[in-house]
Symmetry: C2
């Protein structure tokens, strides 16, 4: 690792350097703050960042370490939190003027867990309006004329621009995997319920997931290990045995993985350069990949019906008291959601177990992971749209873990992610399979 | 116990008599069948009863015992199952001509669990149409001109009439506690999710509960011990530590319980004789009871919104293919359910955790159980209506355990139950509290 450029260290490297005393947390955080000062004017990843407060946390971390106390796996390492994750010491505004100046009294479960692991909460990253589709101010670090994607725009961009090694976001449609693909970083949207959502803005209980952004797969596993766990405040969280994600992700697969290349019925909407890049990847993987057509029914419609209805409920107060300060597109969506019949909502939800069962068989019978685009192409030009989650919704609906790896580039030089999807609760193996793929591609 | 009248034994007594060889299962089942032959023409509790098949199971149970194999806690004891509980060896018609002749290929989870405990599945008891409000043929054993209540009409009546010592039913509104009150037996509707519903007709996932009918509290605990447990087919079932219900229910409370007498906003709808009977009971309990007013918001409306919407989904196929063979009242209900907005449905559901939290505090701070009517009075005259679940819906909505004890009688001599309600997962203690109440009243 290159200790002379601390902001470029991975979270695992940084944690190791701090633990060994090669660098102090204050030095690490100072280096990241200095880098942020350089790049933030162009990228605009943060909605709240108080350098003094970050340094104060770093000083406390350093003092704790010097006192001989045992240190956590992220001791002294700065992380970014999407601004829908409550923090007791910083505002949390959910990307809406309606929540401007909102200061929660308690940390979200994931914020507490990260602090318990020793992390420095660097600041709050830009989210689209209530984690939906209306963009914030963030720009793509690879080209400020392009969207970073959304809704976890700031988290993806901050990690991509080297401002922090690790950030949390959330995905209800494609809000983690898509911006990670556009910004050229690794990201994981784990199994539904694996990371508790207590203390986060709830958009859709059925489809909301916490996700992670990092510049290495190892960091995704390291981060997941800190924030996966049971929390009784999240009704979809369950007590489970602790999984050693980092260890499993680092292991060699017993056999070379076999991938199911899924073009989806939306392949014609994939940009030609992205189609070509996938063609080359599939060719490169040879007998380790097979093209598979999956049944998905009306999954995208079902996901929309469910989220529209749940969004309407979760934003009912905002709609009633301040709809004029919602974006027109969100207003339209809420109006649509308010008209959804319970019958259609429940019938859409009832489709999910069947879909999941079908996909589970696919993994049991033959494949290690689904290989499919993370997005229809590179980051679209302009900042008006955060792009289309059409390649993410099905897996989000099914609560299956998805990871994106920044393996390819488009004709314009912008990054292009490869999405891998695994069976529910196959998060650790999915990370292992992703690592195998990265190494295989690197080997040429 | 009076071994000379085997049909009048409790399930615990019968199981003990069989285990000790005082009576064979065949003798026990024969005695019950003979009694059924006498009283069934007036009561009409059964929709399927094959004496040969019951005796065949009893013979197998006797052979197993004589072979020296270890026997289960209900070995050789006949039980009745509401005809919405699937049985692989008998039809399950869900109280509708639309499902006439339906023969499931698998046992419901509870049927398997009872068989594993050694029980003889005596037959299938009458349910109202799809466990809703349109009555079946069953009459009240105490007066055939009165309703037995519903929807678990046959299970309540069969136990009350001494045909079987134990029967299972289900409650989505008041379908266990109300018929038990009308028929003068003990019944338990345990915590939501505690008894798995896999393989039963689903009316409303959010409010459906399995319940038990017996002639003693001990039998409720014995039965619960056999059918409480995790089943992955029921999404509301959870793995939990095994609770020794019978042991706890038999224990002496460390302190005399304190009851919260809850009249509810519907007290004026309680019949005068029932009001008077409650007044006497409360007086008798002296300082062990306090009148408490509970907040319940619009709980009855919320319960209706949720169940109407879920009923519409769960009967969507029947409505589409055979609505002319549904009762007019069920048709009306489904039509209403199909119009419920997802917004209203989800907002109703969102009210439940707050209600539950409020009631939980009540138990944590002061009271052992809520004491409240099981029904607005004794069984109404006539067979057109199964009575009103107005005193049951709130606890069903909240998934809290409720037990009814046949402590009182109306002016007409018909039975009148006292309902006790406990905190979620307080099932064992609720049974213990109920036993204390019964003994206290018996002590005069």
């Amino acid at each position: 690792m290159d200790i002379s450029r601390p902001h470029s260290l991975s979270a695992a490297e940084a944690a190791q350097a701090v633990a060994r005393g090669l660098i102090s947390s204050v030095e690490l955080v100072q280096a990241c703050l200095a880098h942020i000062k350089d790049v933030e004017p162009a990228v605009q990843a943060w909605t709240f960042l108080d350098p003094d407060h970050a340094l104060q946390q770093a000083r406390a971390a350093d003092q704790l370490r010097l006192s001989g106390a045992s240190v956590g796996p992220l001791h002294g390492v700065p992380v970014g939190l999407k601004d829908i994750i409550d923090t007791a010491d910083m505002p949390t505004e959910n990307g809406s003027v309606l929540h401007a100046g909102r200061t929660p009294s308690r940390d979200a479960a994931v914020a507490s867990m990260l602090r318990a692991a020793g992390a420095i909460i660097m600041g709050k990253t830009v989210t689209t309006e209530f984690a939906t589709r209306t963009p914030g101010k963030t720009r793509n670090p690879h080209d400020p004329g392009h969207t970073p994607g959304g809704s976890s725009s700031g988290s993806a961009a901050a990690v991509a621009a080297g401002m922090v090694p690790l950030a949390l976001g959330s995905q209800t449609g494609g809000s983690v995997i898509r911006p990670a693909s556009y910004c050229g970083v690794y990201a994981l949207k784990p199994t539904h319920g694996l990371i508790p959502r207590t203390g986060m803005f709830q958009l859709s209980r059925s489809l909301d997931h916490v996700g992670l952004f990092a510049r290495t797969l190892e960091d995704l596993a390291l981060g997941l290990e800190q924030v996966a766990g049971y929390d009784e405040g999240d009704p979809d969280s369950r007590p489970r045995a602790r999984v050693p994600y980092r260890t499993i992700a680092a292991e060699e697969p017993p056999l070379p993985p076999l991938f199911a290349f899924v073009k989806t019925p939306r392949w014609s909407q994939v940009a030609p350069d992205a189609q070509e890049a996938f063609g080359e990847l599939v060719e490169h993987l040879g007998d380790r990949v097979e093209e598979v057509e999956l049944y998905e029914g009306e999954a995208i419609d079902w996901a929309r019906t469910i989220t529209d209805a749940e969004v309407a409920v979760n934003l009912a107060r905002e709609w009633e008291t301040g709809r004029d300060r919602l974006s027109p597109s969100l207003r339209t969506r809420i109006e649509r959601g308010r008209q959804v019949l319970a019958l259609d909502y429940l019938q859409a939800r009832a489709q999910v177990p069947g879909l999941v069962a079908g996909y589970t068989e696919l993994f049991e019978q033959r494949y290690d992971a689904i290989l499919t685009p993370a997005a229809p192409g590179t980051a679209p030009k302009g900042l008006e749209s955060t792009g289309d989650p059409m390649f993410n919704s099905v897996w989000t609906l099914c609560g299956m873990p998805a990871v994106t790896v920044p393996l390819m580039r488009g004709a314009n030089g912008l990054p292009l992610g490869v999405q891998l999807v695994g069976p529910r609760h196959g998060d650790a193996r999915l990370l292992r399979t992703a690592r195998w793929l990265v190494e295989r591609v690197a080997a040429g």
